[in-house]
Structures are given as C-alpha cells and as structure tokens.
C-alpha cells in the first residue's frame, strides 16, 4: 500500500466506490456502489483491474489529483468530456482511455459532460479498508470508502500497488450515455395498489429528472399517479431500481444508497442494466419507461453482461496520443524522453 494521489480539489461529490456490498440488507445497510456500474467496470478494465476494484466516482464536477507516486496508471470513463493532465504539455485525455501519470502531474476532471457521473480508476485499485465486504462509500451511514465521506482537499489516496507495467488502453467504441433510451421496468411488486389509468399514464408519460436526484434516489416529475388503496403500505424490502410512489403521486426511483425498507407502494422496478442508464441523467433530463416481463428482463441482463465482457475484450492500444493539442504533440517529439519515462 503506497500513497499515490493527493487531492488538490475534491470536485462536487467524489467518493470511493466499487460494485457495492451484498449481504447486509437485513441489518439496514444498502449496497451502495457505483451509480454507473458499467462505466466503473470499463474504467477498471482500462488499467488492468478486476471489475470490482475500488475507484473514484465523480458526480457533476471532478477533482484535481496530483500524482505523488513515481508513476500512476489511471483511466477515466463517463460522458463525453475527457480529463486533462497538467504536465509540461497540458495533455487532454479522451474519456474511455488510460494514461500514465508521472510524479507531480495533476489529473484534472472538470465538469463532466454527456453524463452526470464518471469514474477514475487506478491500476491495482484504491486502497481503503473494506467494510462489510466492500470499499464503497455509504455517506448517509458514514460507512466505507474514504472515512465514510466524500473526498476533501488535502486527502491522500493510497493504492494497492505503484504503477503497473501495462500499456495505455482505450475503448474501441465510446460509452454512449443513451439519453434517449427507454428505461425498462418490470411492473410490481405493488402495481395492484394503482389504478389501471395510473399504470397506463406511468408507461405513456415522459418524466423529467427533478433537482432532487442523488445517490439515494431520483425524484421524477410528470403525471400524478393515483393509488387505489392509499399510499401507505406496511414497509417491505427495497432494491436498486424500486420505484416508490408516495402521496404526491410523483415516482421516486431508488438508486444505490437507499433506505433498505420503505412504506410507499412500488409501481415497478427499473431493471438492473438500466439503473446505470438512468444514473447518467441529470436534473432536467427526460425519462420514458417501457414495460418488460421478468423473463425478458433477466435475458436483457444476461445479454448486457455479455456485451460488457465483449467491450472489455475489445480494449485496444490508443490510436492517438493522449493529446488533441498539436503543440503538445510537437513538444512531445522534442522531449520524448520525459514522456517515455513511464516505460
């Protein structure tokens, strides 16, 4: 375990996440984990990690991180804006590729564009205590990740290893946020608490992601959904994707840091692959729900898992240098030795 990165500025809400913790719902601990689990897995793959390695999740705007180890292999996935590396060249690094940082280089992830979340993975994974089987941060419970909280300026991040010898990689095709894709749901478990008209409206409507959208849940705005037997039920279990409808009639999609039980009827459940798709959307974005059967949902999940595995198998050496800046490219030729010091 060695110190690898110093947080110069933390970004809006930057936390350590992996794929989440299972097995503690019965004592009130939700899974947490990456909102966009696909982006996390791809970022990890780009630096040679297992899918579940601990990485940084960035919401809306990202941190500036200074490499304090001799060299650090990092990758960023999420949206369409890349990150910059402040070294002699001010390199721009496209999303979906990895880059080796040298000691003193600053990786800067500004505003994320084309998604509301992004992931910075480091080779070997971030080293934080694994609490209840996971490195994920559950901020409401002050549990896991980096001291149970978002990063602050001055924090020192440790890695499991120093740099890896692995070369830089990129995705063969960018990760599309799919803002227009319908969000697929399985009706239930309490669709019988809603009128037929409410279910029809729920599936016909275009909802808008409200300003109240965070790791706990996304409140949506759209047609008011009428309950048949009131809006209170005896609390029962929640999962990622549960769509609760409280008395306001406005749905709330539970994301990763939800309360494990809830007392509002759940009209439907977002299928797990589409939680990542929804999680990329920011306040103001549109959401249209489409119904699938449970069998279809399970088949979609299996297909999407295969698609992620195929993307990882298709990782390739970058076609371009980690720059879109011709001056920087020119400089690189003159002082290539510094660039190549990573090798």
């Amino acid at each position: 375990m060695i110190p690898i990165l110093r947080v110069k500025s933390p970004g809006l809400h930057t936390t350590v996440q992996d794929l989440g913790r299972d097995g503690f719902a019965d004592v009130g601990v939700p899974p947490s984990g990456a909102v966009d689990a696909v982006a996390l897995r791809l970022a990890n793959a780009l630096v040679g990690n297992a899918p579940n390695a601990a990485a940084l999740e960035i919401l809306v705007s990202g941190p500036a991180l200074e490499a304090i180890a001799e060299s650090v292999h990092v990758a960023f996935v999420g949206g369409t804006a890349g990150v910059s590396v402040q070294d002699a060249h001010q390199r721009s690094v496209a999303p979906g590729r990895s880059v080796h940082l040298k000691q003193g280089d600053v990786l800067k992830a500004g505003m994320i564009a084309g998604s509301s979340c992004g992931y910075i993975a480091v080779a070997g994974g971030l080293s934080v205590p694994r609490l209840l089987g996971s490195a994920s941060t559950y901020t409401r419970g002050t549990l896991g990740g980096f001291e149970g909280r978002p990063l602050r300026a001055g924090d020192i991040l440790y890695g499991e290893v120093g740099d890896s010898a692995q070369g830089e990689l990129e995705l063969a095709a960018p990760l599309d946020s799919e803002f227009d894709a319908p969000i697929r749901v399985v009706l239930g478990p309490q669709e019988d608490h809603f009128t037929a008209a409410a279910i029809e409206a729920f599936l016909a409507a275009t909802y808008t992601v409200s300003a109240q959208a965070d790791r706990m849940g996304f409140r949506l705005e759209g047609p008011v959904l009428a309950h048949t037997r009131g809006y209170n039920i005896v609390s029962d279990g929640i999962v990622s994707g549960s769509i609760q409808v409280p008395g306001s009639g406005q749905p709330i999609v539970l994301m990763r840091d939800y309360q494990t039980i809830g007392g509002y009827p759940k009209i439907a459940t977002v299928i797990s692959p589409d939680i990542s798709r929804l999680g990329r959307r920011s306040p103001g974005a549109k959401v249209h729900f489409v119904r699938v059967s449970r069998d279809e949902a399970e088949a979609i999940y299996r297909d999407e898992e295969a698609a992620i595995a195929a993307r990882i198998a298709d990782l390739r050496e970058p076609r371009e240098r980690a720059s879109i800046n011709l001056d920087a490219l020119y400089d690189e030729n003159l002082i290539g030795g510094i660039i190549n010091a990573r090798e």
């Binding site: 719902a25 601990v29 609490l131 209840l132 419970g141 309490q190 029962d236 279990g237 999962v239 459940t269």
Partner: protein, 241 residues
C-alpha cells in the same frame, strides 16, 4: 400454502409476501423462510431481507432465474424451522429519566397513564425484532401494549440523539445514530447498536427478542462510559423462539 404471493422486484429480486399487516404469525413465517433459504443454499441467491410480512430474495440471474427460485421456494414454504429453536433475548439497559426522555410526559398525558405506568408497561414487555432497517442497525420491535399505541409525532424532529428509545404506532425502536425521526422519545439506551467492524455488525437482528431493563441516570452514564471504553457487552439469554 394459502395467501402466499410471489411478486417480482425487477430482474434480480423477488418478494415472497405472506400478508399485508404487522402480525407475529406472519413475521414468524417470514423469518422461518429466511432461515430455510439460508440452510438450503439455493443456487444464485445473494441475500434475503426479512420484513414484517414479506421476504425479499435477491438473486443473480446469471446463476438462476426468478421462475426457478419461485419453484424451489414454493416447495419449502411449509418447512418447520430447525436451525433456530432458541434465539437471543437481549436485556437492554434503558434510562427513562427525563433527561433522556423528552416525550415521556406527553406520552403519559396522551395515553391517560402516569409516566411511571408508561415505563412499567414499556419495560414489562418482551419485544420481537421484526425488521432491522431505516438506518443501519435500527430495530423495529413490537408489539407495544395497546395502551401505549399512539400515532407518530405531528412534527418530526430534525435531530434525534443516538441511543434514543422511541415509540410510535404498535412499535418501539432505538436510534443507532443521530438522525431525523418522528417517533416519541421515552428513554435512552447507552449501548452501541451497530458497528461495521463487528463480525455481526448489528446487535439486534430480525427474530431476536429484547426487553428493556430500567437503569437510573447514574447507571446510564456509567454504562455509557464503559461502552466508550469497549468494556461493556449487552447481556442476553437464550430463549425458545
């Protein structure tokens, strides 16, 4: 078995629903099925979450399917519990001193009892832990004696201190951490309810029993200091489930 419904909860979970109310008999069936599923080690089951009236079963669709699991679980709905003939009965130190019990007088007034009578009834009841949720380690316990049943507070508090013993409707609970809360605060327990470093991170688990043992304020402070030093274990006895 009559009345049991399987309800889908997306592509990775299903609910086994035994009813729609809070009743010991339903809870017992939920808890028994949770134990049984653990024993059976059904392929692809990730975890179960018992609540008052239903069991949430999370699964991995790469290893099983909802339809397969429903068939497997259906065959075991009638199984008798075997693993846990005995469960823990926790003896929880409870300070009902007014310094710890901001709502005790109001509860007494609204129930038409004296505050001592509220304490006698609350501490004289053996509660079942139905569910642990809301916050990590928060036990939903019941049932309160009917004289103590009150609706939630009209104005929820923004901050309820950790350790507060609370009651509302037919239930009582203890706040593991400071948090917002809408229940009536009638005492405080100087104990730790949740610690992610424990092998069993929650002190109270669904199916356990709990009884509040009154202590005075000096004893409350003494135990609290001992808890701080990691020098106190909440006593329990084993009792028939």
């Amino acid at each position: 078995m009559t009345g049991v419904r399987f309800l889908p909860a997306g592509d990775k979970a299903l609910l086994v629903e035994f009813g729609e109310t809070i009743e010991r008999a339903l809870s017992e069936r939920v808890l028994r099925l949770a134990e049984r599923i653990k024993e059976l080690r059904l392929n692809g089951v990730i975890e179960t979450l018992p609540t008052f009236r239903s069991l949430l079963v999370r699964y991995d669709p790469l290893q099983t399917s909802g339809a397969t699991l429903e068939n497997e679980i259906s065959a075991h709905l009638e199984d008798a519990g075997s693993a846990h003939d005995e469960v823990r009965l926790w003896h929880i130190p409870a300070c009902y001193d007014r310094r710890c019990a901001p709502d005790l007088d109001e509860v007494a007034e609204r129930t038409g009892l004296t505050s001592d009578e509220v304490v006698v009834r609350h501490s004289g009841t053996r509660f079942l832990v139905y569910v642990v949720g809301f916050a990590a380690g928060y036990p939903y316990m019941g049932d309160l004696p009917s004289e103590l049943v009150l609706p939630r507070r009209a104005d929820p508090r923004v901050r309820v201190p950790a350790g507060s013993i609370a009651m509302a409707t037919t239930l009582t609970g203890i706040y593991p951490l400071e948090s917002p809360g809408g229940w009536h605060l009638i005492g405080a327990a100087p104990i730790r309810l949740f610690d992610p470093n424990w092998e069993r991170p929650a002190l109270l688990r669904p199916g356990d029993f709990a009884k509040f043992e009154p202590v005075d304020f000096a004893e409350y402070e003494r135990i609290r200091a001992a808890v701080e030093r990691n020098d106190y274990d909440v006593p329990f006895t084993m009792v028939a489930a």
